[in-house]
């Protein structure tokens, strides 16, 4: 049964089993995003619960224009961004003009970022601001298209492309600052 069929059946019958099906399918994905963003397992577990309750309460508002997963991720990212902003937990890393990187070879940059050592990836993501981190996760972890990222962030295509480029720049800047000497 597809996500959309399960959703349709839940709305028709209000049978919780259909919602549980979607929960089982996505709970780990939602949790892993929450822990990546919020860094504490307890906080991430609470956030996962809140996100699914939020989804449940606004399920009738889901228009079906996007995939259910895209909508769920959108709720997840926006929820975590709100939490972080409210708690002012993020560290802003500025990008100076003299550190601008050559972004012509975008594919190579993608490969470089995706092939980062997992331990280092975790460290670098932990030092990034929440918007940059979430946009990189949407692109590399969730495989969202530019159009889908536009829907999640409610931004235009050109704005999203620019944000992705900036996020990649900041990722590599932080990486170089922390690991260039150690190799």
């Amino acid at each position: 049964m597809s996500d959309e069929e399960a959703l349709e059946q839940y709305l028709l019958t209000q049978n919780v089993n259909y919602f549980n099906l979607l929960y089982d399918r996505y709970t780990n994905k939602v949790y892993s995003k929450c822990i990546s963003m919020l860094k504490e397992s307890e906080l991430a577990e609470d956030a996962t619960q809140e996100i699914f309750v939020k989804v449940l309460l606004s399920i009738s508002k889901f228009s079906g224009k996007s995939k259910f997963s895209t909508w769920l991720y959108s709720v997840t990212y926006n929820y975590c961004i709100d939490i972080i902003r409210k708690g002012k937990k993020e560290i802003i890393v500025s990008l100076e003009d003299n550190t601008k990187l050559d972004l012509e070879d975008d594919g190579m940059l993608d490969a470089e970022i995706m092939e980062t050592n997992v331990f280092r990836l975790k460290q670098v993501l932990g030092l990034m601001n929440v918007e940059d981190k979430s946009i990189l996760m949407m692109k590399y972890q969730d495989d969202l298209s530019i159009k889908e990222i536009c829907d999640v962030m409610e931004k235009t295509e050109s704005a999203v492309k620019m944000k992705i480029l900036r996020a990649k720049e900041r990722f590599l800047k932080i990486y170089q600052e922390n690991y260039s000497r150690s190799g």
């Binding site: 549980n20 949790y31 577990e45 490969a111 997992v118």
Partner: protein, 74 residues
């Protein structure tokens, strides 16, 4: 195929989570139950509460006078 450390990191977080998802599921079910219960209460008592308020208005002292004063010449 290109290695994707983002997906590897996701897998690590999921493994570390263990079976906590079941506990969270139970909490969500409890929430659903509570919302359902509140929903039923509203469904059941809101129309009758409306009726009661309406009847208060009709039986309150001066309710007749108010009607009469509105159009005193009629």
């Amino acid at each position: 195929m290109t290695k994707n450390s983002f997906k590897e990191l996701e897998e690590i977080y999921i493994k570390e989570r263990g079976n906590a998802s079941e506990k969270t599921k139970k909490k969500i079910s409890a929430n659903i139950g509570l919302f359902g219960f509140i929903g039923h209460l509203i469904e059941l008592y809101l129309p009758s509460a409306g009726q009661v308020l309406k009847s208060f208005d009709l039986t309150s002292p001066g309710a007749k006078d108010k009607k009469q004063k509105k159009y005193p010449n009629k």
